[in-house]
Amino acid sequence: MTSSPPTTVIPVSGITKHIGALGKAREFGILIALVLVVIAATTMNPSFLFSTDGWRDLLLTPSILVLVAAGQAIVIITRNVDLSVGSVMGLSAYLTGRLFIDVPGLPIPVVVLLAVLFGAFLGLVNGSLVAFARVPAMVITLGTLYAYRGINVMWAGSTRVNASDMPKEFLAIGTGQFLTIPILAIVAFVILAVAAWYMRNTRGGREYYAIGSDPAAAELYGLKVTRRVLSAFTLSGALAGLAGVFYVARYGTVSSQAGAGWELDAVGAAVIGGVAITGGIGTVWGAAIGAVLLMTINRALPILGIPDFWQRAVVGVLIIGAIVLDRWLAVRQRQRLIEARDES
């Protein structure tokens, strides 16, 4: 293989460019929607964006869901789903609070690390059940959703951890800012950037996509499917664990019901952000933008004068709209690719 003939350079073709652009346009569209929501709300009430509190809330509120949604996106890309993230987040949040009470003097980084590891462990339990028992993830994680929440209720009872139980320095992280940007938002962004880089540029990341695209082919390729599925769930658990820490730092109080219902927000955010529920397509960036859009809409709708009970309907329309749009785009792309073949 030493002397190879001159290589023919194959130029990037029109259809490929078109498809690449379409993928970017999908995420860009959600970003535009987000900007429109912010502009609309700011027009109604300028303090939505221009007051110190408004600016802070805009960045801070979505940070927690962004983490959970990024983890969820990774799991969905492997053609699985993690419905237990809300419970994992709640349990990790409660653990964080208990650690401050039960082990006084434990350094804050150690507490954070323990909570993240705990979340990762819960995710690992999910992953093992899915990967080894070969039961659909939806069923397994629906089960652990209740199981983890049950453990949380058993542990916490009707008590709650309050701000006074926790060190001031920890709560300061929740309210702290750097150049007017909340610290939690910065941390979330950095983690997001790392996850996005990993998903795009490493073997592990690409194998998640491959597994979601065609699990049977992944097996034939000799990919370590079991290990990858396990790691996807562990990652999702770890991110939910970190989100639990964020939750405590942000709200300063945690009961046995922290994070209830967040799993559906996370799935919704991923779907709105263009992650295909059947796996193989989407990015964590998309899921994160979806999460920000979801949280911002929740805050903007009251300002726009839309009654409370319509807000959930709007979210529903958004999710269904996103799925219909994706399906339509997929069908059109397939048609286009097949027709391109016919012509050649």
């Binding site: 690409r206 194998e207 491959a210 390729y221 193989g280 792309q333 690719l337």
Partner: protein
């Protein structure tokens, strides 16, 4: 032609594999030399695929020897066999539809730089180099979705070459290829052979085996029969080894009276799938629909029956228009479709024989909207015995029947609706020889009773032996219509693989 002292890259001897009570391989042997293209032939069910899967690491053998490059090996996963230098190209390539061509070629072993970062530029360049070497131009950045099967196979081969595989196994690679595409594949195969790799080529087409290969191994009933240099054998000799006896192709074709047109299809078009399909099926006539796998034959059948949509064209049955996308309407009008995949589409596989047979007549069967097992069985028994379905009872689960008996159940289900026109898609695929001729006799009998039959088949002898008229499809178009008297394997095959128009 490999010299006799070329090193042996792959050697299997007396390999045994069974699945439960079913013995797939009794004693399989194979000896592949470097720089050789070795044909592996045998009837369906002879154990070729099982043998390939053992070499690929999908199955583990129960007994026997398996040596690669002279060393004993025992693969427990596809990753292991791949690492040892074995590449398998399956008939239906398995690619990731959402990922680009480049990613498909390198998945699992991407070129990486610092921090494990994938080097996309280097990968793309490598793909260009591979494609140049193979003499093909496929856009490396496009998703694998929508590629033709021929292009998908080229990608599989590119993968094997980039792996520097010593042993390349191609499992019926030409089944879905046109003549030009097959020639391109052969040119690639020869160049790989000249580089000193060992290739195993599984095919049912003798002309290809004789044109491409230098050695041939015949298998029958899970056992090794013979290995011969290609120059020292003949097709007749090989067929004899494959079936273990002289074959006299006997098709129980009855003479029938061809009557008035029953099914008329006009200008059926579905972009990217099939174009301008027109044909007529008359009463008492068996019309064969021949062509390569992937030519769009099954898709036409599904569209005619109303399962799939189409953009233009009309379907008329006995003068009555059948609207598109309405299988129920087609059924009521007297059309029946025995699909290609009987396990998934022909049967409710976990249901009993009786329930399956009465599946299409439930409306007529019900009394006040209720159906009892008794009603079901009474109706099913008639058809089960007419078609000689071999099962102990009507509540035997369909999944446990043999392929031949399953096919009879599907046929019984549709015959119970008393159709005027029966469309059968690959009626004898994966069925043993005895049942095959039973199915043929039945089809012939039905035509004799005035039914119109459209038979899709990839087996040329079947088409030539059974059909009154042969339609040939190639890449979504009907390229020829040949009368029974004029039909030969040559002119049918020619129409199936060449673009020229030869309507007669």
């Amino acid at each position: 032609m490999p010299s006799t002292d070329a090193p042996v890259v792959l050697e299997l001897s007396e390999v045994v594999k069974s699945f439960g009570a079913v013995v797939a391989l009794r004693s399989a042997s194979l000896r592949l030399q470097a720089g050789s293209i070795h044909a592996l032939i045998g009837e369906n069910g002879a154990g070729k695929s099982t043998l390939v899967k053992i070499v690929a690491g999908l199955y583990r053998r129960d007994a026997g020897e398996f040596r690669l490059d002279g060393e004993d090996v025992d693969f427990t996963s596809t990753a292991e066999s791949k690492a040892a230098g074995v590449a398998v190209i399956y008939q239906e390539p398995t690619l990731f539809p959402d990922l680009s061509v480049t990613e498909n070629i390198f998945m699992g072993r991407q070129l990486t730089g610092r921090f494990g970062r994938i080097d996309r530029k280097a990968m793309r360049h490598e793909v260009e180099r591979l494609f140049t070497r193979l003499g093909v131009v496929i856009d490396p950045d496009r998703p694998a979705e929508g590629l033709s099967i021929a292009d998908q196979q080229v990608i599989e081969i590119a993968k094997a070459v980039s792996l520097d595989a010593k042993v390349l196994i191609m499992d019926e690679p030409t089944a879905a290829l046109s003549g030009v595409e097959a020639e391109r594949l052969f040119a690639i195969a020869r160049s790989l052979r000249d580089e000193g790799r060992g290739l195993i080529f599984i095919s049912h087409r003798f002309d290809e085996v004789f044109a491409l290969c230098d050695t041939v191994t015949v298998m029958r009933d899970g056992a090794y029969i013979a290995t011969t240099p290609i120059a020292e054998t003949t097709p007749g000799e090989l067929v004899r080894q494959m079936v273990g006896r002289e074959v006299t192709e006997l098709f129980p074709k009855q003479e029938t009276v061809v009557g008035e047109p029953l099914l008329e299809v006009e200008g059926l078009t579905s972009p990217g799938v099939f174009h301008d399909i027109s044909f007529t099926v008359r009463s008492g006539e068996i019309v064969g629909l021949a062509g390569l796998v992937g030519a769009g034959r099954s898709e036409v059948a599904r569209a005619v029956f109303g399962v799939d949509q189409y953009r233009e064209g009309t379907v008329t049955l006995k003068g009555r228009r059948i609207r598109r996308g309405r299988p129920t309407e087609a059924m009521r009008a007297g059309l029946a479709l025995v699909p290609e995949d009987r396990r998934k589409q022909g049967l409710v596989i976990d249901s009993g024989v009786g329930r399956n047979i009465t599946m299409a007549i439930r409306r007529e069967l019900s009394r006040f909207g209720l159906i009892t097992t008794g009603l079901e069985n009474r109706a099913a028994r008639v058809w089960a015995s007419r078609l000689e379905v071999k099962s102990y009872a009507l509540d035997t689960v369909a999944a446990t029947l043999s392929g031949g008996n399953q096919q009879k159940v599907v046929l019984a289900k549709w015959l119970a609706t008393k159709p005027d026109v029966l469309i059968v898609d690959e009626p004898t695929r994966g069925i043993d020889v005895g049942t095959k001729s039973e199915v043929h006799r039945l089809l012939s009998e039905l035509a004799g009773q005035g039914m119109g039959i459209l038979m899709i088949s990839s087996e040329l002898p079947e088409v030539l032996g059974m059909a009154d008229r042969v339609l040939v499809m190639r890449e979504g178009r009907i390229t020829a219509e040949i009368d029974r008297a004029d039909a030969t394997s040559e002119n049918v095959m020619f129409a199936a693989t060449h673009a020229s128009e030869q309507h007669s």
